[in-house]
Symmetry: C2
Subunit: 248 residues, 2 copies
């Protein structure tokens, strides 16, 4: 994997620093805020129109510079500041740190690192003019191209969503507080990009009920052209259950 350069500094893959000049350095936080649209059965990603250089007016992931214009005491506070700002402006139903990338090229200003998060927003938000959703698929295919390395950052989050959805209840967080078994089947099928049998989902829902993660509401949901569906409610908002077997 990584091999020793036998102690000879000249073989080390680094260039000497510029003496006497403190290097500029940015550490940013970027969120990939995902929303599932029940009607179109597509996963969408929240973007913001950039106000400032670099890449003014282009659509990018909501992010901020840690200790940029405002001092943050912790990274988590930086995340809260971003969530509370008008770049997002809605409480998230889930958030998880995915990775940190950093290099000399990704930001034209200077060396920069970005710590990226996977976030889920169950309720469809009212968007401002500076916000929009694009489909996760269009980002994957590069039909939608983002500034910086944001497409690659979305890739990392998409991979995390996929792999974690194989063996956890994570996709159900897209459905909010109350949902039906057919809706659960649909969202798993979308996230895993293949048809998932409704009976497998039923088994998992039974397991979740056993574990106290969900409970039957007794209510039924019906709407435009769909047959009534019994609903369950999420008893552990924001919590993810780990099944002991994975989907294939």
């Amino acid at each position: 994997m990584y091999f020793l350069a036998k102690g000879d500094p000249s073989t080390m893959p680094s260039t000497p620093p510029d003496p006497g000049k403190k290097m500029d350095y940015l550490h940013t936080i970027d969120l990939v805020v995902l929303h599932y649209c029940r009607k179109t059965q597509a996963i969408q990603v929240l973007l913001n129109r950039r106000q400032q250089a670099p890449f003014p007016d282009s659509w990018a992931l909501p992010g901020l510079v840690l200790n940029g214009s405002v001092r943050d005491v912790t990274m988590d506070e930086g995340v809260q500041r971003l969530v509370a700002s008008n770049k997002i402006g809605l409480p998230l139903d889930y958030i998880e740190q995915v990775a940190t990338v950093g290099d000399a090229y990704r930001d034209p200003r200077c060396w920069s690192s970005s710590t990226i998060y996977l976030a889920i927003l169950a309720e469809p938000p009212a968007l401002s003019d500076e916000q929009k959703f694009v489909s996760l698929k269009s980002l994957e295919s590069r039909e939608t191209r983002l500034p910086f390395d944001h497409n690659e950052l979305v890739d990392k989050v998409r991979e995390r969503l996929y792999s974690k959805s194989l063996y956890t209840s994570l996709p159900l967080l897209f459905l909010g507080q109350e949902f039906s078994a057919p809706e659960a089947t649909a969202v798993y099928s979308v996230v895993l990009e293949r048809p998932v049998l409704k009976t497998s989902i039923r088994q998992r829902l039974l397991k979740l009920a056993d574990e106290g993660f969900i409970a039957e509401t007794g209510r039924k949901k019906s709407g435009e052209g769909i047959k009534a569906q019994a609903t369950v409610e999420n008893l552990r908002p924001g919590k993810v259950f780990y099944f002991d077997r994975s989907f294939a």
Copy 2:
């Protein structure tokens, strides 16, 4: 999870920046290099004696400041620089980024972030005077206390090791190129901190053989007081197989 502060800046959890002064900021890389001792059946963590302030002479995780004394082009190059340095000085058998933490307190010098990695070193290295191993257990129990928040960083890596070992072949990387089924059983039992049935491990080894990850060598291993054990060899060094079922 995170709630909106209704757009009122005074409620936001941040203090204003100090104008006119560029804030000092460090981004460090810290490695939790794990080694499994077949004899004592314990997992050990590599430490370095710190040369400089803060905390001179105390034992800490091997780490470096990104773009500190040397310019790194990418974070991965920084990791390679650290691995090649005398703080580690041996090729790693596995490495994986685990998390990034950052706040105003963890480093007495200034605001700092650290990106931490889980690394595995299969071969027992020859240690310099500035290096030593301590058991992962003594770090968990706080019998061994490290400077900064390094104990908590080790906790995060330990949790990742544990959870990933439930459903992957990761623990086998502790055993290097050639190992036996009883050794595999032992290392899984140590990592999962419970007895694991040899028949469960045998099943998993059969699966790995099917998948082309390991192959029987035909050789047998015997040594001090132990009975001969058939060995297998790792055909995919550094690669981890994901089983579709988890241990309990």
